[in-house]
């Protein structure tokens, strides 16, 4: 089995995100960037499947600026075998990403594609679903467990009421939820090995995909600063304030 994992370069989860002064986006100059945490979980799952003898090859794909190569190298150090970068400076929205991934999948012909359920920058949670639709493949989203039973892939999904298990036929698209696994620390020897693993760079035009954005961002602004709280002396005052000042009850 061949697995494709998609990895996105995002502002590191430890960084306090700041809006740009002109309201056109968030500040990314001199800001630490890392692999989207849900994608790390996706890579980890692929590596575990490989270690368990279920997968032969893992290809890590990223889409975006040249620096996404760093993100791919991280996936390679975690255990992916090779990388593909579709390089573009254009803004990429979920549909464009899904189309690019489909084009890569058409070339690579994987049996399974694993993505993070969402990226922590735009929290869109759309790419995996769009990709499955474009490919016409089965999808198992918000996966918290994968299990191969005969020739089906059982995917446990975290849904509102609890856990739901669906049986998928391959090829399929999976999106990883937080509890699917705990990604490993990268070992030093593997960091050195990752330097030598192959990484191919393509352009969207090579794949014949038009990535022009379809949505327009009007404005990005920071949430209002939280006001300092007050202590109230009785439940009556609390209820009164919640009702008359905060208007929440």
């Amino acid at each position: 089995m061949k697995i494709l994992v998609a990895v996105k370069r995002v502002v590191d989860y430890n960084v306090k995100v700041r809006a740009k002064a002109d309201g056109t986006g968030v500040e990314t100059a001199n800001v630490k960037m890392s692999m989207n945490p849900f994608d790390e979980i996706a890579v980890e799952e692929a590596v575990r499947l490989q270690e368990a003898g279920k997968a032969k090859e893992i290809v890590a794909v990223s889409l975006g600026v040249a620096a996404c190569q760093d993100t791919i190298r991280t996936a390679l150090a975690m255990g992916a075998d090779r990388g593909v970068l579709v390089e573009t400076d254009a803004e990429l929205q979920p549909l464009a990403v899904a189309k690019l991934l489909k084009a890569v999948a058409d070339q690579e012909k994987p049996d399974l594609i694993i993505l993070g359920k969402q990226a922590i920058d735009d929290d869109a949670n759309q790419t995996g679903q769009m990709l499955a639709a474009l490919l016409g493949w089965a999808q198992g989203t918000f996966a918290s467990k994968l299990e191969f039973v005969a020739d089906a892939l059982n995917v446990t999904r975290e849904v509102d009421g609890g856990l739901e298990t669906v049986a998928l036929k391959l090829p399929a698209v999976i999106t990883a939820d937080l509890r699917l696994n705990e990604p490993r620390f990268v070992k030093l020897p593997n960091i050195m090995k990752a330097k030598k693993k192959p990484l191919a760079v393509l352009k969207p035009t090579d794949l014949g995909v038009d990535v022009t954005p379809r949505l327009v961002t009007l404005k990005v602004q920071e949430p209002p600063k939280r006001q300092a709280g007050v202590k109230v002396d009785s439940v009556t005052t609390l209820v009164d304030k919640l009702h008359n000042e905060a208007h929440v009850i």
Partner: protein, 573 residues
């Protein structure tokens, strides 16, 4: 021209010119010191040099600061190239470099002008260099309180990040990984280890081993991760720095011993010895410790007395060693011993041995060999640096087979050189440890300054706190780049003296940075439960081991500067 309308490039140029002027006066003072330390035959006499210790120390420190400032200016340039900053706005890294340079110049001026005659200088030298209007103007433009505090304000918006690290991607990945290891594995255990003087927990030891840390200074052909062609000191530096951010005693110092031992083995070991020991060290299957220091000799390595006497098939060791860190857990000890009975041979009578022993947990052990030889060890109680335990060792007829003499029969009498080869790695590694502690302390200081409200405002709102944060961040960021740059020099087989300089400088700085971090916490800083109290105590040891500050400054840095000093004629007027 007033400084406020100068663009960043002009300010950096001015800094460079000011450093050139001050380098000149330092060169002249070194030339003068050289003249005063020469014997009739022109050779430098250690005894004569020792008559000018204060001047030697001040020159060593001044040259370290000026060298750091130069690396800082270079850093500012690289950081600008890597950023999207506009030509008229100062980057954070440029602010660090400028403040650092100005403070260094100011400090050098203080030292030289306090006792110019001792440096062989007269008024005209001072007014042409440290007091030159261009140098003064540069300092006066960079050092106003408002400007320093402004940098502090900027730091408050940086979430504890102290400038761009500017690492290439695989070193960045190492940093990233070990930053997480420190946060997720080390930090949760660090306080307990410190307060209860515990052994390093297996959770940490096993993790560090599994990730391949012990092989970080060992070439691939011996099972490590270094390329066989070229040394990579930066990887070791970065990993050490991040682990130390978690804890100096319980994590950051784990790599020091294999670093020293592997450098000594690579330098002096026979092929057989390298093949036997390096793979075990790299895998972390064999932990090691270094036993050089003795109760009566520490800095004076050439004078060590532990006695090795020839016996059937090997050597018998008798005597005492002290401060042998990790000596309990270690499965092999690297021991410097006197193999020639004639003490007057000095360092030429010393050899190195590798002694295998069982690994013992806890604070005391006794190892009895089949033939009756005995090695007992007892941990010395210390105020900090806890986890590895540093042992007093007593050797009573301990047998070491002859194949365990480093370098084989040819290694006899070369122990001092092998020790020094090992220590060079230990020094740059200790600079990295200083960086890790400083970063940890700075982050705590910053977050406390944001939260703690005194007289109605967060203490970070006050100018004095902002100035502290600005200076702490500056010394840390420049110290880091100084260390990285020296690491890169060492990869090229250079930078030995610079490694001592940067060790000397960063360790001294770490004491001050951790002190300020504790101070910002007020009373809470003095509480054992607050990590900054541990950072403060731990940082204190850095200037003692791996070359005590004074010994490094006088015997290594000043000595090397004087040896390589230009003549007065070459310096010119």
């Amino acid at each position: 021209m007033s400084a406020s309308i100068q663009n960043p490039l002009e300010q950096l140029q001015q800094a460079g010119q000011a450093l050139d002027a001050v380098q000149k006066v330092l060169d002249y003072a070194l030339a003068d010191l050289r003249e005063r330390s020469q014997k009739a035959d022109g050779k430098i006499s250690a005894a004569l040099l020792d008559q000018h210790q204060l001047v030697s120390y001040d020159l060593a420190l001044s040259c370290a600061e000026v060298t750091g400032a130069r690396f800082g200016l270079d850093y500012a340039k690289r950081a600008r190239n890597a950023s999207v900053a506009t030509a008229d706005a100062l980057t954070l890294e440029e602010r660090f470099a400028l403040l650092f340079t100005a403070e260094a110049l100011q400090a050098v001026r203080n030292r030289l002008s306090a006792r110019p005659a001792d440096f062989g200088l007269d008024e005209s030298w001072l007014s042409a260099t440290v007091d030159h209007p261009a140098v003064r103007q540069f300092c006066l433009a960079q050092l106003p309180a408002e400007r320093v505090a402004e940098l502090g304000q900027l730091m408050r918006a940086q979430d504890g990040v102290t400038g761009a690290y500017l690492l290439d991607d695989h070193h960045e990945m190492m940093r990233e990984t070990f930053r997480r290891v420190a946060e997720e594995v080390v930090m949760p255990l660090a306080e307990e280890v410190h307060r209860h003087d515990l052994d390093i927990p297996d959770a940490i030891l096993d993790q560090v081993k599994e990730l391949g840390c012990f092989g970080i200074s060992i070439p691939e052909r011996f099972g490590g991760i270094q390329s066989d062609e070229q040394e990579d000191n930066l990887g070791m530096i970065v990993v050490t720095e991040e682990l130390t951010r978690g804890s100096l005693g319980a994590a950051g110092s784990l790599i020091t011993r294999p670093e020293i031992l592997s450098k000594a083995l690579l330098k002096g070991g026979t092929e057989e010895q390298k093949n036997k020991w390096l793979p075990q060290l790299a895998a972390g299957d064999l932990l090691c410790a270094v036993a050089v220091t003795e109760p009566n000799y520490g800095s004076d390595v050439a004078n060590m007395r532990l006695k090795a006497t020839k016996t059937e098939g090997g050597w018998l060791l008798n005597g005492a060693k002290t401060w042998c860190t990790f000596g309990g857990k270690a499965g092999v000890l690297l021991i410097l011993a006197r193999t020639h009975p004639d003490v007057s041979l000095g360092h030429r009578g010393l050899s190195m041995f590798l002694l295998e022993k069982p690994s013992y947990p806890g604070h005391a052990f006794e190892f009895v060999q089949e033939g009756g030889g005995k090695l007992s060890g007892k941990a010395i109680s210390t105020i900090g640096y806890r986890g590895m335990h540093s042992f007093d060792l007593f050797f009573d007829n301990i047998f070491v087979p002859e194949e365990n003499m480093l370098g084989g029969p040819q290694g006899e009498g070369k122990g001092f050189y092998f020790t020094m080869a090992g220590f060079a790695g230990g020094r740059i590694q200790t600079a990295a440890r200083a960086l890790g502690i400083m970063q940890a302390a700075y982050e705590k200081a910053l977050s406390y300054a944001q939260e703690r409200i005194v007289f109605g405002y967060p203490i970070g709102d006050y100018q004095l706190t902002q100035a502290k944060l600005a200076r702490m961040a500056t010394y840390l960021a420049i110290g880091r780049q100084f260390t990285y740059s020296v690491g890169r020099l060492m990869d090229q087989g250079e930078g030995d003296m610079e490694a001592s300089m940067v060790k000397f400088f960063t360790c001294k700085t770490a004491e001050w940075v951790t002190r300020e971090a504790l101070q910002i916490h007020g009373g809470m800083g003095y509480a054992e439960e607050t990590p900054v109290s541990r950072y403060f105590i731990d940082a204190r040891v850095l200037s003692i081991f791996e070359g005590a500050e004074e010994t490094l400054a006088l015997k290594v840095i000043a000595r090397s500067l004087v040896d390589n000093a230009k003549t007065k004629a070459e310096v010119g007027v």
